[in-house]
């Protein structure tokens, strides 16, 4: 009732624009107030056939456009020849230039009116208002961004592919991907027969060509669906009447990444590959580009878990590194990869412990703990040893006596782990340190002091110790310990506050002007991805996790758990997870490259070394922090 009243108080033309918008995505799922905001702030402009609507020379994209009537054609200069090619068409109800607006850059494509065209548009500030206020609109626009994220992932994969020498890199020319002898027909073939031909050949598209084998149109299963659903005509209609004209074409010399970009940008699933004379030589589909292969993780884990000698374990670390390469190459997301690295690291740690127990059992049951990033299961190839021991003091012994037996054992394990590539912890946060080889009672006391007397040093420790996990030995004692600790933290608001303060002290590495803030003057052009990129996430999420009694130690899992408890908005949670994963991915790729070059692994990267896409994404992400 209220809505109806409100509607009649809006001017007719505002209502008319709202109902026009309502017929198109994403506006169809937006609230009336947001549609009204659009309609009231819009301007309507006219472009005659051939007029330039938007050009790369116009500078940063300033307005968000919706085609009200007519069509817009995207043109790019041909790479080698003196001619332009149409890269896309935007028709009624569609929006542009989304990527340029979100990316705060000029458009890369000349937008030209194809036929007399009317466009509605709003200023960037109104676009921003809508993004921040309307969920469906935000989703729609961020889908654009996440397709950018996908592109970065593709780039990561292609780099990794190159390093394992696979031929399936996205840098390879399209001709290697393209399906030869694509299914073609002439425009007069009835739809029924064309579909039969597609069915016989088990393909999702058919290309309509003229006598000179130039593609003039494409017809896909999706078009068939639309045709049937919208009753566009009988199945005897000549296919030329229902095909999508002027299909997107790329020369066979273009690379797969270019094709992927084009597909991602315009949501095509198929592209024609043509020769110099624009004659069809093949078709490439989205699926051809991204077919994933399985990587044998289980086998590697088993080999590590049954190794009989330290030197086998050391040798197997190279395989772990190769596996990471392969996983990245095959499109696993960084969250998965990180967990797999952690799993393999755990297997290695366990095997080192087992081998040592065989040789020299100290005779006292213990739980091997890991802290910090290892505790959070967020290791990459560069991993410090952050470990400790939790034991239950046997009858008739003092904790001191137990330590006398356990410490030499721990020392040996620490050294062997170092040989396997887990660098010795510079802060001596290792099981061989008497202060970290404690009985359950001692750990508990330790945490009491730690929580109740919150000093700055304790806060630094907090980032290490609050993320502990049992890798070897019974986990039940640790569980008991953590329950006590969590209960205590939940009661101690001051401690929570200090933890939060600590998290907030880490500024994301962006200056006011949204450029990267570098580490310091000596390392002028390096960013510490771990401290400046990941730590703010990890610490903020930890505060929430501890305050809400979330026991898991993995940052992504903590975000999930907090979203389930309605502490975080599900949308935000996803955005954070994506951002976090991406920084991890960039960090891992940097590690891979350092390994390849035989350099020491660090977490520093020079943003200038990143390709422009990565750099932009990294900038956008760190802005979220």
């Amino acid at each position: 009732m209220a809505a109806a009243n409100q509607d009649t108080t809006r001017p007719q033309n505002t209502r008319a624009i709202m109902s026009f918008l309502r017929e198109h995505a994403p506006f169809s799922s937006m609230d009336d107030t947001h549609l009204a905001h659009f309609a009231e702030h819009a301007t309507l402009s006219f472009y005659a056939d051939g007029d330039v609507v938007l050009s790369p020379e116009d500078g940063l994209a300033k307005r968000f456009y919706v085609v009200k009537q007519g069509r817009i054609r995207g043109e790019r200069q041909h790479k080698t020849e003196e001619r332009t090619e149409t890269t896309f068409e935007i028709s009624q109800g569609e929006c542009f230039p989304l990527a340029a607006l979100v990316g705060e850059r000029p458009t890369r494509t000349l937008h030209r009116a194809a036929g007399d065209t009317f466009c509605l548009s709003i200023e960037k500030k109104d676009f921003v208002t809508l993004i921040s206020e309307s969920e469906p609109f935000r989703d729609f626009c961020l889908r654009g961004v996440s397709s950018l994220l996908e592109q970065v992932n593709q780039r990561l994969q292609s780099k990794a592919m190159a390093s394992i020498g696979s031929s399936n890199s996205l840098d390879t020319p399209l001709e290697r991907y393209a399906l030869r002898n694509p299914i073609v027909c002439s425009p007069d073939l009835p739809v029924r027969k064309a579909v039969a031909r597609m069915h016989e050949n088990n393909v999702g598209s058919i290309i309509i060509t003229d006598d000179g084998r130039h593609p003039t149109g494409i017809f896909t299963l999706r078009d068939l669906r639309t045709m049937v659903a919208e009753e566009k005509g009988p199945l005897d209609t000549p296919i030329g009447q229902v095909m999508t004209s002027n299909p997107c074409c790329l020369p066979s010399t273009a690379d797969a990444f270019e094709a992927a970009m084009l597909m991602a940008e315009h949501h095509f699933a198929h592209l024609c590959v043509v020769d110099e004379e624009q004659r069809l030589i093949g078709v490439v589909s989205e699926r051809d580009l991204f077919s994933l292969q399985r990587v044998d993780l289980v086998n590697l884990a088993r080999t590590i878990g049954t190794a009989t000698h330290l030197r086998t374990l050391v040798a197997l670390r190279t395989d772990v590194s190769r596996l990471v390469d392969a996983m990245l190459a095959h499109g696993a997301d960084s969250g998965q990869v990180v967990k797999i690295i952690t799993t393999l690291n755990d297997v290695t740690v366990r095997r080192v412990l087992e081998l040592n127990l065989k040789k020299n059992d100290p005779g006292i049951p213990f739980t091997w703990l890991t802290f910090g990033s290892e505790g959070r299961q967020e290791q990459t190839l560069l991993t410090d040893q952050d470990n400790g021991i939790l034991f239950e003091t046997p009858e008739g012994m003092t904790p001191e006596q137990v330590r006398e037996k356990l410490l030499p054992f721990a020392r040996k394990v620490n050294d062997e782990l170092a040989e396997c590539g887990f660098t010795l912890c510079k802060g001596n946060i290792m099981a061989s340190n008497p202060k970290l080889c404690l009985s359950i009672g001692e750990w508990d006391d330790w945490f009491i002091r730690f929580i109740d007397a919150s000093t700055p040093q304790n806060l630094v420790y907090s980032s290490i110790f609050l993320d502990m996990r049992a890798v070897f030995g019974p986990s039940e004692p640790l569980h008991r310990l953590l329950e006590n600790v969590l209960a205590r933290i939940r009661k101690n608001a001051l401690f929570q506050k200090m933890l939060a303060g600590n998290a907030l002290q880490r500024k994301p590495p962006l200056t006011m002007f949204r450029n990267f803030r570098y580490l310091n003057d000596e390392k002028k052009h390096s960013l510490d991805l771990k401290r400046q990129g990941l730590a703010p996430f990890v610490e903020s999420v930890r505060v929430f996790a501890l305050a809400h009694g979330v026991e898991t130690a993995n940052t992504l899992e903590r975000i999930d758990a907090l979203a389930r408890k309605d502490v975080f908005d599900a949308k935000d949670a996803n955005a954070w997870k994506e951002a976090y994963s991406l920084i991890q991915a960039i960090r891992m790729r940097a590690h891979q490259e350092m390994l390849d070059k035989g350099e020491e692994l660090t977490n520093y990267i020079d943003p200038d070394d990143l390709n422009p896409l990565d750099r932009r994404i990294l900038r956008e992400i760190t802005y979220q922090l």
Binding site: T43, S45, A48
Partner: protein, 235 residues
């Protein structure tokens, strides 16, 4: 008699009547050398109780503004006048304004003053503008005693002037709307008609730029010339 008193009372309660200072209103602009790309143009459409100039009345005013060559949707005028005493049974079917909507409309004088202020003396365009001009001038004079002359231009002349070869199926607003594939959201709704008229004006202004018609004066001259040309054809 009782009904009349009731109406009079309702009008008194409804707000201010009379005593308007029409002198402080913006002065009408003339056809100057101002660039079209910098001008504000008002595109207007009226709904009336009928076509008889001597007895019919304005019941709704819709207008949109074109500024710097684009239509700004935050700059529009959409009002139904409060004219309960009028008999509108004849035209109610065309424009869909029933007696109820009319009584809920705005005080005529307020609405007209508001309109004059909003128009800001800028040139007024309308489709078959002679009709709208006559009715609006009559109403302004009767209600406010306002007699200033505004600059009017006829979009029905503007379009053939710039698209002489357009194959429209007739000379009406609907024919031109069809020609440009435009939808009229609600035909015979003053604001919707004004909107489509403004959309057509955008197309004409776009062509004007290409034909080197750059200023208001050049545009007015072009229309004069066009009119004379047509008169010669008729002779």
């Amino acid at each position: 008699m009782l009904e009349q008193i009731k109406q009079w009372l309702a009008q008194r309660r409804g707000g201010v009547t009379g005593d308007h200072d029409t002198d402080s209103l913006p002065a009408p602009k003339t056809a100057s050398d101002q660039l079209l790309t910098r001008s504000r143009l008002v595109v207007l459409d009226l709904e009336t109780t009928g076509l008889n100039f001597s007895k019919d009345e304005v019941i709704a005013i819709g207008a949109v503004a074109i500024e710097s060559g684009v239509i700004h949707l935050n700059d529009q005028f959409d009002l139904i006048l409060r004219r309960p005493e009028l008999d509108i049974s004849e035209t109610v079917l065309i424009h869909g304004i029933g007696p109820e909507a009319l009584t809920q409309g705005h005080e005529t004088e307020d609405a007209l003053l508001h309109l004059l202020e909003w128009m800001n003396g800028d040139p007024i365009l309308a489709y078959h503008s002679a009709f709208d001009q006559k009715f609006l001038e009559k109403t302004l004079k009767a209600q406010l005693g306002y007699t200033s002359q505004h600059l009017w231009m006829d979009v029905a002349e503007l379009l053939p002037a710039f698209f002489p070869h357009a194959e429209t199926k007739g000379r009406g607003l609907d024919n031109w709307a069809d020609y440009f594939n435009l939808q009229i959201s609600e035909r015979h709704h003053a604001a919707a008609d004004a909107m489509v008229t403004a959309e057509l004006t955008l197309a004409a202004l776009n062509m004007a730029q290409k034909k080197d018609v750059k200023t208001l004066k050049e545009l007015v001259d072009k229309l004069h010339y066009q009119r004379r040309l047509q008169q010669m054809h008729r002779l």
